[in-house]
């Protein structure tokens, strides 16, 4: 079967040879692999973009999860930005708040677009809708942002993992942040190779991140990891645009992430048995949330 790329080296090589952005290579590969038309593919991505935008808007109104563990932080950060006293800067905090907004909607069982997973769904839209205010992209460039994140995510998913249960949170928020960094670079006018450098720089700094959801819920620490993932994506993109390169090639970074994930004990892979989930407070919260009606939810036989 025809395939344009299966790793980052091939992706960058094709983009450079054809003098096309990574997003365009992803669209063409999608046409090859799924035999769908460009129009269908672009329309589906436009729909995903619309869902992301409405999740951000919903979250910025202030939503709360049924468990009560998360909600309302996106609003707090937006209000803080308005005071003009922020240390890390408006754009970065805007991305952080919008990542939090999306993930708070996710925790509340709202409608979101997984990027690449639901647990990490805040980072790609959070960075996109923050960078939008700075770079004034066209609608097409915003859709292309998603294709570029998808190209890198496709490679990670096929060569490593994007599931917290398989590879820890480095595979989820780590992948999302690295994917977003690569797409920010493209939108800001960087080269395909600079996208790859941004991806590597961010992924290297998410390595080893465990998946330890308190009470097994996609809330603590997931929402705040989306916030920090968005921040790392922006910083990583800036570093690559400044000309900083990764000494370890991107595909080797991805392979390292995969091997780290495989060697993680299962307690740290989404089982809610280790890390923050196993702290005294984490366990107390689990008992409080599920202790009382545990049995009644197991069986319904009426």
């Amino acid at each position: 079967m025809d395939i344009l790329f299966s790793n980052v080296k091939e992706l960058v090589a094709v983009a450079e040879k054809e003098q096309q952005p990574i997003s365009e290579i992803m669209i063409r590969q999608e046409m090859l692999l799924t035999r769908r038309s460009r129009e269908e593919i672009v329309a589906q991505m436009e729909n995903n973009l619309a869902v992301m935008e409405s999740s951000v808007e919903e979250g910025l109104k202030g939503v709360h999860s049924p468990s009560g563990l998360t909600g309302g932080d996106a609003v707090l950060i937006q209000n803080y930005m308005k005071t003009g006293k922020s240390l890390s800067g408006e754009l970065l905090l805007d991305a952080v708040s919008k990542a939090v907004a999306t993930n708070e909607v996710n925790a509340a069982m709202g409608l979101i677009c997984a990027t690449p997973t639901a647990g990490a769904a805040g980072i790609v839209p959070g960075t996109l809708f923050a960078v939008k205010n700075k770079l004034n992209p066209t609608h097409e460039q915003m859709v292309n942002y998603l294709f570029t994140t998808g190209a890198f995510g496709f490679i990670v998913a096929n060569n490593a993992s994007i599931s917290g249960a398989a590879g820890g949170c480095q595979a989820e928020t780590g992948s999302a942040a690295s994917m977003a960094a690569a797409a920010i670079v493209e939108m800001a006018g960087g080269t395909p190779q600079q996208s790859a450098e941004a991806f590597s720089i961010v992924m290297k700094n998410m390595l080893g991140l465990v998946c330890d959801p308190v009470a097994g819920l996609v809330e603590v620490p997931c929402v705040k990891r989306n916030a920090m993932g968005a921040a790392k994506a922006l910083v990583g993109a800036d570093m690559a645009l400044a000309g900083v390169v990764s000494i370890i090639p991107t595909d080797e970074v991805i392979e390292a992430m995969h091997k780290i994930g495989q060697s993680m004990p299962s307690a740290l892979r989404e089982t809610a048995k280790g890390g923050l989930a196993a702290t005294p407070t984490g366990k107390a919260l689990e008992a409080k949330i599920f202790g009382k009606d545990k049995e009644s939810r197991d069986t319904v036989t009426k």
Binding site: P116, A157, A165, E270, A272, T299
Partner: protein
């Protein structure tokens, strides 16, 4: 290649909170319903690994039931799937198993009604993507990305050729195919993923072939 489409990475559009535990689980339920071919009256769902540990917090249980009711990953009715099932008179039970399976997110669905019972094992491999790895005791790999044909037949020479000829005559292309049998010369199962939607005429044609006992389809 486990993942073929960019929309498995950017997507699915879904009800939160977990793509592997909620969206992937809903799809396992939905595929089971499609293969069963009708609304089951009862379901016993065995959960393994991470599914068993965290299914309540992730809504894995409501998602699987939602899938068995025909709801897709983005259907907001997933939230009320338990109540909806009760209204329809479908009973269900969840059993958290301690046994270790190869994949951390594994579910075994036993569903049925007065006419029959079906058993399916599905795994949620991340990002909302799932695979069926066993159907009624037959090991197989069914991604759910393509329309698929399931042909139960007697293990005899020529059956596979007859089936594939009938498919080729419709100008259809086979994307993936597996044949399994429990015992030499006894019952066998062909799982054929194709690029185009399967029409009723082809199903009727396959049913009429010698040694074919049952044909069902799974639309993409």
């Amino acid at each position: 290649m486990k993942f073929r489409s960019v929309f498995e990475i950017i997507g699915p559009v879904m009800i939160g909170p977990s793509s592997s535990h909620t969206a992937g689980a809903a799809r396992i339920g939905l595929v089971a319903r499609d293969l069963f071919g009708r609304q089951p009256e009862w379901a016993t769902i065995h959960l393994y690994g991470s599914f068993a540990e965290t299914y309540k917090g992730h809504g894995t249980d409501v998602a699987i039931i939602g899938g068995l009711l025909g709801y897709d990953t983005f259907d907001e009715r997933i939230r009320t799937a338990f109540e909806d099932a009760e209204k329809l008179g479908m009973t269900f039970e969840f059993i958290a198993e301690e046994e270790e399976m190869d994949h951390p997110n594994t579910a075994k669905l036993v569903i049925g009604d007065k006419q029959g019972v079906m058993e399916l094992i599905g795994i949620s491999i991340g990002g909302g993507t799932m695979e069926v790895i066993e159907l009624n005791g037959f090991p197989l790999r069914l991604s759910g990305h393509f329309p698929a044909l399931l042909v139960v037949h007697d293990d005899r020479a020529g059956v596979i050729a007859n089936v594939s000829n009938a498919i080729a005559a419709q100008d259809m292309n086979i994307a993936h195919m597996e044949v399994g049998r429990k015992e030499k010369g006894k019952m066998a199962l062909m799982v054929i993923e194709v690029d185009q939607v399967v029409n009723d005429a082809l199903i009727e044609e396959l049913r009429a072939l010698p040694n074919v006992t049952q044909v069902s389809t799974l639309a993409n």
